[in-house]
C-alpha cells in the first residue's frame, strides 16, 4: 500500500497540528484548517469528539464539549472535510476513539475517508492487539492506521513498528493530552528503538506548545504534533481563531525549518 502520509516527511521536519472538528463551529473549523495548512502545516489532524475521551486532558475535553454544543456528528465532520477539500489538498487525518468508527461501520467509515482524501486514523483506544478488526478495511481504502508508541511500550515496540504505515505517533510522556514543560527523558532511545524495525517516520506529540519545544522534538524525531496548545488558542479566540492559528503555525514552521537547516 502506498501511504499518502509518509512522503510528507521527506527532506523536512513535519508539523502536525490538531484541532477538534466543529470547535467552536463548522465554518471556523474550515478556516482554522486552512490557516494551518497555508502557514506551514504538513498534515492536519482533526479530532472527532467522543463523549468519554479517556486519553485526553481538560483542554481537549472542553473543546469536545464546545463541538457537541454546536451539534457535531461524524457526518457533519465529513461535510467539514468536503468543504476544506474545495480549497486545500493538505493531508488530513482523524483522531477519534474506536467506538465512533465501530458504530459508523468500519467499511463505511474508511470508504468515506478515502472519498474525502483523509489519509489516516489515530485511535488511542485501539492498541496493536485490537487493530486486526479495522486493518482490512483501512487497507482496502488505502487509509494508514497511525499507531502510538509510548515511553512504556518496551518490548511491544517491535511488533507495533513492523505493522506501522504512514507515521508513528510517539507519545512524549505518560498520562493524557495537555501542555507540558518537560518530557520523558528517554525519547531518543525510544526513537532509536523504533528505527531498528522500520523506516516509517516518527512524530512526537503530547504536551508540545512552544516553538522551542517543537525544535527540540524535531531534533529527535521526524515531526512534531501540537494539539492542546492550538486548541487553547481556539478556546481563547473563538471565531477569530484562524488568524491566531495562522500566526502560531508560522512560528512553529520557522522553528522546525531552522532545525532542518541545523541538521544539514
Amino acid at each position: 500500500m502506498m501511504s499518502n502520509l509518509k512522503p510528507v516527511f521527506n527532506n523536512h521536519k513535519a508539523f502536525i497540528p490538531f484541532v477538534v472538528a466543529n470547535d467552536p463551529d463548522f465554518d471556523t473549523t474550515v478556516q482554522n484548517v486552512l490557516a494551518l495548512a497555508n502557514n506551514g502545516a504538513d498534515i492536519v489532524e482533526l479530532g472527532i469528539p467522543f463523549s468519554d475521551p479517556v486519553a485526553d486532558g481538560p483542554v481537549i475535553q472542553d473543546a469536545d464539549l464546545r463541538a457537541f454544543a454546536a451539534g457535531v456528528t461524524p457526518d457533519k465532520i465529513f461535510d467539514i472535510v468536503a468543504e476544506i477539500r474545495k480549497q486545500s489538498d493538505v493531508p488530513l487525518i482523524f483522531l477519534t476513539y474506536l467506538n465512533i468508527v465501530f458504530k459508523y461501520g468500519y467499511d463505511a467509515f474508511c470508504k468515506k475517508c478515502q472519498a474525502l482524501g483523509v489519509s489516516g486514523l489515530v485511535i488511542p483506544d485501539m492498541p496493536y492487539e485490537e487493530r486486526d478488526e479495522l486493518a482490512p478495511f483501512a487497507d482496502k481504502y488505502g487509509i494508514d492506521l497511525v499507531p502510538l508508541v509510548t515511553p512504556t511500550s518496551g518490548h511491544r515496540i517491535e511488533k507495533i513498528a513492523k505493522a506501522a504505515t504512514g507515521f508513528i505517533y510517539v507519545v512524549s510522556s505518560l498520562g493524557i493530552t495537555g501542555t507540558r514543560d518537560s518530557f520523558s527523558q528517554n525519547l531518543n532511545e525510544l526513537i532509536a528503538d523504533i528505527r531498528k524495525y522500520t523506516d516509517v517516520p516518527t512524530a512526537i506529540g503530547f504536551g508540545i506548545h512552544t516553538p522551542e519545544q517543537a525544535y527540540e522534538m524535531a531534533e529527535i524525531a521526524d515531526g512534531a504534533i501540537i494539539g492542546s496548545a492550538i486548541v487553547d488558542l481556539v478556546a481563547k479566540h473563538g471565531q477569530d481563531a484562524p488568524k491566531y492559528l495562522g500566526q502560531y503555525a508560522k512560528e512553529i514552521r520557522t522553528a522546525l525549518d531552522n532545525q532542518a537547516q541545523q541538521a544539514v
Binding site: N99, D125, E129, E130, T150, S153
Partner: protein
Amino acid sequence: MKNMVEKEKLGRYGKFGGQYIPETLMNELEIIAAEYHKLKDDPAFQKELKDLLVNYANRPSLLYYAENMTKDLGGAKIYLKREDLNHTGAHKINNVIGQALVAKHLGKKRLIAETGAGQHGVATATIAALMGLECEVFMGKEDTERQKLNVYRMELLGAKVHAVTSGSMVLKDAVNATMQEWASRVDDTFYILGSAVGPYPFPEMVHDFQSVISKEAKVQLQAQEHTLPDMVVACVGGGSNAIGTFADFIDDPSVQLVGVEAAGKGVDTDETAATIERGSIGVFHGMKSMFLQDKNGQIDKVYSISAGLDYPGVGPEHAALADAGRAQYVGITDDESVQAFEYIAKTEGIIAAVESCHAIAYVEKIAPTMSKDQIIICTLSGRGDKDVASIAKYKGVSIDDE
C-alpha cells in the same frame, strides 16, 4: 508436528471483551495478566487469599433461607446469599482482596479505584489500610453527594477521595478519571477495578475472585436441600456480584441465570441504566460489550436511584451470556427497588443495599409464578445502611442527619 490451533484472542467472550485501552497501559496489562496467571495456580497465593477471605472478610457468607418471604410470596423457596454480612458490607471486598494481593506481589505501593455507591471504594480503602498501601479513590461528584457517608468512611480509612467533575459526574466518569490517573502513574500504582468490566485481564480476575459466591452457595444449598437451585438472581451494574453468583452454575444447564439491571424511571424511558435490554454493541472502557449509546456511538448519560448500578455498560461475559441466551437480563425500576427495600426490611428484618433490592424486587415478581418445590438463590450484594438517608428522601421523609 504440533496442532495448528489458531491463537485465540486474549480475553474474549465470544465477540465481546478484548483490550481497547491506550498503549500507555498495555505493557502494564501484560504484566498483570502474566502475574495473575502465575499466582492463580500457586497454592501459596490461594492460601493467602483464603486466609484473608475467612479471617478478615468473614467468609463464607451465610446462605440464609428466607422463610418469611417464601411464605409470603407463596411460590419458590427463596435463599439469600448474604454478601451484606461481609466485612465492609458488600461483595466488593472479595475482588478487592484478590486484586490487592496481585498488586502486592507486583510490588505496588499505591492502590487507586473508581467507585459508584462507595462500597468498592470503601473496600479498597480498607485493604489499603490493612496492607499499608496508599489509596486514592475517584468518585463522581454526584455520587459523593448521594453517598456522603461512604466518602467519610473512606477518609477515615486513610484514603484520599477525589470528586470527579467531568462528564455526568457519576460512575462512568469516575472510571475515566481513574484510568487517566493510572495512565499518568503506572509504575508504582495498581488500579483495582471494581466490577467485571474493563480490558482483559480485569473481567477474568473479577470473575475468579467473585466466583467464591457461587462456589459457596452451591455447597451450602447441597447441604441444606441436596439439590441445585432452579434459578439464581443477582443485580447487575458492571456485573461483578452477578458473575460471581453465576460462575459455578454456568455449566449446570438446569439452573436459570437472571441478571437484574436498573431500569431507573423505566426501561423505555431515557432515564434508565438497563444496558442489555436497551443498549447496543460498542467499544468503551477497554472492552467490546453492550452499552447505552446513541446512533453515533456517544455514550449515554444513564440514570438509576442506585449509584452502584448507574453505569452505561456491562461486563463482556454478561454480554456474551445474554447473546448466547444462557442468562436472562431484566429491568427493575426505582419505584420497584424502593418498594423491595421496604419489603425485605419488614419481612426479613434485613436492610439491604438499594442495588441488591433490584434483585429482590425481581424475586418478588417471579417467585409466586414458580412452584413450591423450586428454589431461587438471590444474592444480597450489600447492606443498605448507606442508602437509608436517600430512601427517606425519595419517600419525602425528612430526617435530621446532622
